[in-house]
């Protein structure tokens, strides 16, 4: 088998799967970076403001809150809020 592999491999060399992998990665990584960098300037302030409002009513820790603006292939932008609710009572001061 090893002998056969040795000769077969010589032929296959031209079609490298590694170069295909590289090409695919370059495309997907560029795409994802582009999306990451598209976060608008107002997002940090919006996040702060939303948290202030939420905290008037419920307890939300930094860890249980996330906000994301995603670009779903093309022109569709989705603002995604994720708030984990714990059932402790509210502390309004």
């Amino acid at each position: 088998m090893a002998l056969l592999d040795y000769f077969l491999r010589k032929k296959e060399k031209q079609v490298t799967t590694a170069s295909k992998a590289k090409e695919r990665l370059q495309i997907i990584v560029a795409h994802e970076r582009n999306n990451r960098n598209k976060q608008p300037d107002y997002l940090p302030q919006l996040t702060e403001d939303i948290l202030v409002v939420l905290r008037k009513y419920i307890h939300v820790s930094d860890e249980s809150f996330s906000i994301n603006l995603d670009n779903k292939d093309g022109d569709l932008n989705v603002l995604e809020l994720n708030i984990e609710l714990h059932d402790e009572p509210t502390s309004t001061d």
């Binding site: 090893a2 002998l3 060399k13 590694a18 930094d62 860890e63």
Partner: protein
């Protein structure tokens, strides 16, 4: 000021714990005070790789909850006295860690240690976020394989946006690429992404290339970090990584396949 270094990856099983153990021990052998922290809450593996699993009494979460002091929880390495390990808890709630309490522990450790190495859990969720949040430097551990490279890029995104340094507008986290489980032979055969390919895609400075090596499994079986196996190529490659972290310029090794004789090539091996 302690250097806080996170060993991170996104994708699981790429060699973070192996690398944390080797690099931590290597730095300590060079005379630095090092603490290794296992952030993989719920799993706990670093103690096994370091060979101190039977000496774990208290863990990171005990310290966070005030059930033990840091000194009670830290395990002193038997080989190098300047190295300590802070084990992860095995059973407890993953949400025990938060920015505030982790920050306090790191601050306390920073008074004693020169290097704080944080072994991150896999993923890009809260656990991995906690491990990287306070980092000054990140060792982005990557296998030459599509999903690992893509996940590493996501982690780079998190380092740049979700870390303390990013949030406070400080100098960004210093990023290092550590390519592990590298097989020069397969690269030469066109089956595996090369060092250059991965560098091109991620565009961060290369810290090291660790070859795929049987020595790694042997090392984990024995609980002796592979850097102690000074004869092995993986051990040598990790030593080079340590030297580079300490500022030396070291040439990269193990990037090309050993040339085998025609005989062994034809008959396998």
């Amino acid at each position: 000021m302690a250097r806080i270094i996170v060993v991170t990856s996104g994708k699981g099983g790429v060699g973070k714990t192996t690398s944390s153990a080797a690099i931590g021990l290597g730095l300590a052998l060079k005379g630095h005070k090092v603490v290794l922290i296992d952030f993989d809450i719920g799993l706990r593996n670093l103690d096994l790789i370091m060979g101190c699993e039977r000496r774990v009494v208290y863990d990171f979460v005990n310290v966070i909850n005030g059930e033990a002091t840091l000194n009670q929880a830290l395990i002193k390495d038997k080989r190098v006295s300047s190295l300590s390990i802070l084990p992860a808890s095995q059973t407890r709630d993953k949400d025990a860690l938060n920015k505030e309490n982790v920050g306090k522990v790191l601050e306390e450790l920073g008074k004693t240690y020169d290097y704080i190495i944080c072994d991150s859990p896999a993923g890009i969720e809260a656990g991995a976020m906690m491990a990287l949040y306070y980092a000054d430097e990140a060792i982005v551990t990557t296998n030459p394989e599509v999903s690992s490279v893509r996940d590493s890029d996501r982690i780079l995104g998190m380092l740049a946006s979700r870390s303390r340094r990013a949030e406070q507008g400080l100098e960004p986290i210093k990023e290092h690429l550590l390519l592990t489980r590298y097989s020069p032979k397969r690269v030469e055969e066109g089956e595996m992404l090369s060092v250059e390919d991965v560098k091109d895609i991620l565009s961060i400075p290369l810290l090291g290339v660790i070859p795929e090596s049987q020595a790694v499994l042997k090392a984990s079986n024995a609980g002796e970090p592979v850097i102690l196996d000074t004869e092995s190529d993986a051990g040598k490659a990790y030593q080079d990584v340590v030297d580079r972290l300490l500022g030396d310029t070291v040439e990269f090794r193990f990037l090309t396949a050993e040339k085998k004789g025609i005989f062994s090539r034809m008959f396998g091996g």
